[in-house]
Subunit: 394 residues, 4 copies
Amino acid sequence: MSDGPGRERQRDVYIRGAAGETPDVPPSYEKLRDAAREEMTDEAYGYVEGGAGSGDTALGNRRAFERRSIEPRVMRDVSERDLSTRVLGDELSAPFLLAPVGVLSIVHDDADTGMARAAASLDVPFTVSTVSSDTLEDIAEEADETHEDGDATRWFQLYPSSDAALNRSLVERAENAGYSAVVITVDTPLLGWRERDIENGYLPFLDGEGLANYFSDPVFRGSLDTPPEENEFGAIQRFIDVFSDATLTPPDISEIADYTNLPVVVKGVLRPEDARRAVEVGADGVVVSNHGGRQVDGAVAALDALPRVAEAVDDATVLFDSGVRRGADALKALALGADAVMLGRPYVYGLALDGEDGVREVVENFRADFDLTLGLTGLRSVDEVGESVLRRSE
Amino acid sequence: MSDGPGRERQRDVYIRGAAGETPDVPPSYEKLRDAAREEMTDEAYGYVEGGAGSGDTALGNRRAFERRSIEPRVMRDVSERDLSTRVLGDELSAPFLLAPVGVLSIVHDDADTGMARAAASLDVPFTVSTVSSDTLEDIAEEADETHEDGDATRWFQLYPSSDAALNRSLVERAENAGYSAVVITVDTPLLGWRERDIENGYLPFLDGEGLANYFSDPVFRGSLDTPPEENEFGAIQRFIDVFSDATLTPPDISEIADYTNLPVVVKGVLRPEDARRAVEVGADGVVVSNHGGRQVDGAVAALDALPRVAEAVDDATVLFDSGVRRGADALKALALGADAVMLGRPYVYGLALDGEDGVREVVENFRADFDLTLGLTGLRSVDEVGESVLRRSE
Amino acid sequence: MSDGPGRERQRDVYIRGAAGETPDVPPSYEKLRDAAREEMTDEAYGYVEGGAGSGDTALGNRRAFERRSIEPRVMRDVSERDLSTRVLGDELSAPFLLAPVGVLSIVHDDADTGMARAAASLDVPFTVSTVSSDTLEDIAEEADETHEDGDATRWFQLYPSSDAALNRSLVERAENAGYSAVVITVDTPLLGWRERDIENGYLPFLDGEGLANYFSDPVFRGSLDTPPEENEFGAIQRFIDVFSDATLTPPDISEIADYTNLPVVVKGVLRPEDARRAVEVGADGVVVSNHGGRQVDGAVAALDALPRVAEAVDDATVLFDSGVRRGADALKALALGADAVMLGRPYVYGLALDGEDGVREVVENFRADFDLTLGLTGLRSVDEVGESVLRRSE
Amino acid sequence: MSDGPGRERQRDVYIRGAAGETPDVPPSYEKLRDAAREEMTDEAYGYVEGGAGSGDTALGNRRAFERRSIEPRVMRDVSERDLSTRVLGDELSAPFLLAPVGVLSIVHDDADTGMARAAASLDVPFTVSTVSSDTLEDIAEEADETHEDGDATRWFQLYPSSDAALNRSLVERAENAGYSAVVITVDTPLLGWRERDIENGYLPFLDGEGLANYFSDPVFRGSLDTPPEENEFGAIQRFIDVFSDATLTPPDISEIADYTNLPVVVKGVLRPEDARRAVEVGADGVVVSNHGGRQVDGAVAALDALPRVAEAVDDATVLFDSGVRRGADALKALALGADAVMLGRPYVYGLALDGEDGVREVVENFRADFDLTLGLTGLRSVDEVGESVLRRSE
């Protein structure tokens, strides 16, 4: 074993194993999830794992990966593999980022700063959610601390609020705090019908979780009669009132793209015409995603939607999430047109299990797995990943 | 969260949840069914849940839904959604009715009146079965009590008896009691071979259940030597003799359509030519249904039959039942040509679990789920639901 | 409920049920099998249930039924249904016979005579196996005793032995004992690799089971140095030596067809060209069968082979077995070209559970189920069953 | 029952069974695996059973077999069956060999010599792994001891090392020790991401297992400062450094083919163009294989790849492994173009369960199963196996 994150990780794990030390975070996603569940409250686990309605969408996401097989090439020199890629001006050490996930505090006290510190320490970009548990400024600062150059790449995800001034304030704060892209989520004009949360009567925001960016925002504060420190209930009430903009249409995207210098990505697109429209009105890219199955019960598998969308927006950036669990999943998404993928639940479970360290383990495993899968497929760089490496399972 | 039954229901549940109160009736159909089972006798559960023969038909009904995916549109203003629709002259607050289900007394003492009161209180139409546990007149009266305008929309379902005068008497009673449509079930010339009931030796009618409309009917009573109050066994015997008309053909439908002023719907149709024939002889519409898998073991999935039937009877009303469990199911059936769907087992399990209140919870959850699914699909009204929102799962 | 075996059976069961009496033999095949297993030795259960190798063939047989759905017609007068049909000159009260199954004594002491008495009492033809536990003459005599006209229809199944004279002797004995057809099994030139039996080291013949027809046969006895009564081991040895004719080719069929007056059916055919060849050399029909999955691991599902074979031998009789469990299965096989089906494991489990009575219950349930399924499909006779009642499940 | 390994094995097992003796090694692969697991450490079981990543590849291998059915012919004289075939100049008593499997010592003390002795005693060729637990010379010697002619057919598998001189030394040693073919594995330029091993922190080589051929090799020893006997850690370190050649390309194959007199087979090919290229540069054949699902997570099923590869390299030898469990699997692979198959995990579990004897039982069962399946399919020799015996499962 020599170079590359895959062989390095293998060597590290096996050598520690020979010395009797086994990893705390299982490399199997299913085992990781089950182990994390043990550490989480039922409410938190239900919130993270649960999908809309029947859960068929999340299941369908996985099936879509299983329906595609990899047809590896052999007898190619794969001793050197270059995993890096450029996305929206950012250099990625490997073709994935951490996806935005809200209210991480319900999962572990390390929450967003733990997530960000782990990602930054491995030079993997991350995306901070609008409903993060720490302020976007604090998260940025902590991330820079662990990054080798003190300059961690971070993106900011925006849930468009019905208060346009608040949206602008949040985007400008992100810009000021060194974020390099804005991801506008458009698949949440309403909150999905999430049966587990309904069963538990659980919406973490109502407990004041995930509102750090709001409570610290001058526009949001200005819209309150009394500051959150004095009247949390009233502030939560205001959040509920403005949280999601069910009236959002392409001109709203356009407006944001106009006032920010950052590249704008529209997240939650499954139809080619929607992707095309987003780009027409100023987006630099899209994230093909069904929100991990959390919004529309019975929605098409995100991976099935990916090639149609990628074809429709040829020059724009195409990212992908929803169901990515292992290196082979990333390879398949790249082969179907994604420039990079976003990793969600896996790191959340790593966080649940072992905080910042758990996220780091998950990310290292994922990167190692991707590196080896790439090489064993006979490829040496992200550019070489094309549709010809895939075959429909019969 | 603001307007519409979906957001209202979410707000209500989450706010109650934040105060420590969780709902008695699980929003998940599977959990609801399992919880209801605990409250029911084995015989009653077997009767409600059981299908004909192997049970493959009921399973196939679900698979047919799973084979269709929803392809949501984003960046559309879905802040206002109009769920209402007109079916056979009735205004529906949302595109569904409660399906006719017999012998509800085996499930809960609230039985049909509980069902009807719950539905009426939410302005959702319901269908009273020929073999209801209360008389159709009593049910109508109770329903009007809980309806906001004192005028609950109700339909009457007729199992054609071999005594034509009895059929006419029942239909005229329904007409007099303010029912606004007659649903003639044509898939039960014989009773299906229901293995669970055979195993349990259980047919509730033989215990005198579900015979309220017969025992109170002047024609039925006139055909007895001794009134049911004095000789229940003899009355049950007579019921058995006349219950189902295995000779029914299109002219029988025609005859009923001629003597009633109410619109007539033929329920239990799976073939286009049968649907066309029903309309030709005077029916105003059909219900595509395989009786929830209770009649023909191995019958085609009702959802698979729906588009063919809908195409065949273009102008007539097309309703659908068999396997509808969640909002997405309703959306899919509408997309394939149904004007509205009928909800069966879900409300029966709500009734089993918590009587009238349980039905109300189930109906509220279903409507909320449909509302949100509609909006998250990018649609604002029932009219906008078309086949283009669906995609065959790959 | 009025006429026909379906409604009669329903009435009988439900009325007994209302009086608190439930049936001993579950109508569900799966429950029947599981209940029977409790009454059987592991070896016997393994022998009956087990398939060749992986068991995929038996599983595939069921899947093939599940892949076809019934598309019922409604609004047809189905009050009178005629289940009878003629097969090879015999009048069948319903389109099925009991399949030949060997060594029934390992399952219940009533063995073949119990099976035959039950079938005859219901006027259902049965097929006696070469390796029956009672002599074919005794079985015939017992069957006639319970038949209403004292004349039970029976067929004889021949495992061709390598001793041609023995084959002729057996066939002539059957002819003399009033059997009306000879079923020559051609899929057993070798015994399949049955893992459960190998695991149990169990072949019932080695314990002397199933050899009644051999030990009583003058040709077989003449080939022994010492009669079986005195040297059972030697007789078993001889049986092993001659049991199956691995050299059998079409001329052997021809020879048998020449010397018997009975119609000859070739059982175990899956390829059209084999069926055609069998008919060319003198067979009157074929049984499409993969021996219930007991011979070739991974063989095509018998139901998938049926339409191709039926088309190939247009005028000859086509029977079917392998996987028939319920009325709908029989209907599907008829729709795909079978003139009648053969029922195997279901009655064996009835026998295991309750001897002769158990077989009777199983047969009555099967006939009732078929009758109702036929009527609910909108059909009134076996002749009306055609391919148009089926649809490929999507 | 008379001739052939199938009937011989049946007779043997059943007669022993009648005497109360049942086999120690279950004929069912699944039961065998589960029984073996009980005898193995978790680490060893995880190493043998585990696949890359999700394990989907191994699952897919099995599904590919299940998707093909056998369409047997009947009424053919199959009393004599010739299982023999020639592969690369070697006479095979049946169309299969034992596949190379490394570090067998973690499974049972009998390890490779046990495997080889069992195979040789049954005149079945075997393949010794580069990372065998005994030296290739010792294994050869032991094998010859049990072979009836004292000349057991054996092949040598080479994991190309980055030290070309070491490769040459190993190949020449094999040639000198009477091996008759070299199998070059090309699907392991890197080690797959095996989650179970990662979870267990287990790589047996780090414990010094499987290094017999290295530690005994003059070239390898020459590359060490201190001999392994004195510094095992350093020797293991060197092994890790050179183990796998991630730079391997077709010229490396060519080089080996040039310096050895033995036929060369390239193992781990899934793409037609790779197979063609291997043959162009001097290989005599290929093994279509995805390494039993151990290398690329989500790789195409080996059986699905087989016909494409077989067509591409018409005249060269085509072998197959990955998922072969039973006789029918071998038949299917032959039908799709393989000249013979390689058996892996089944014999490893036999070894785990009962050492050399366990391997023998497994091989005898497999051969018996293949023999009977061949005959029952209506075939008398390996040559008669063609694609026409298969049918896609519907």
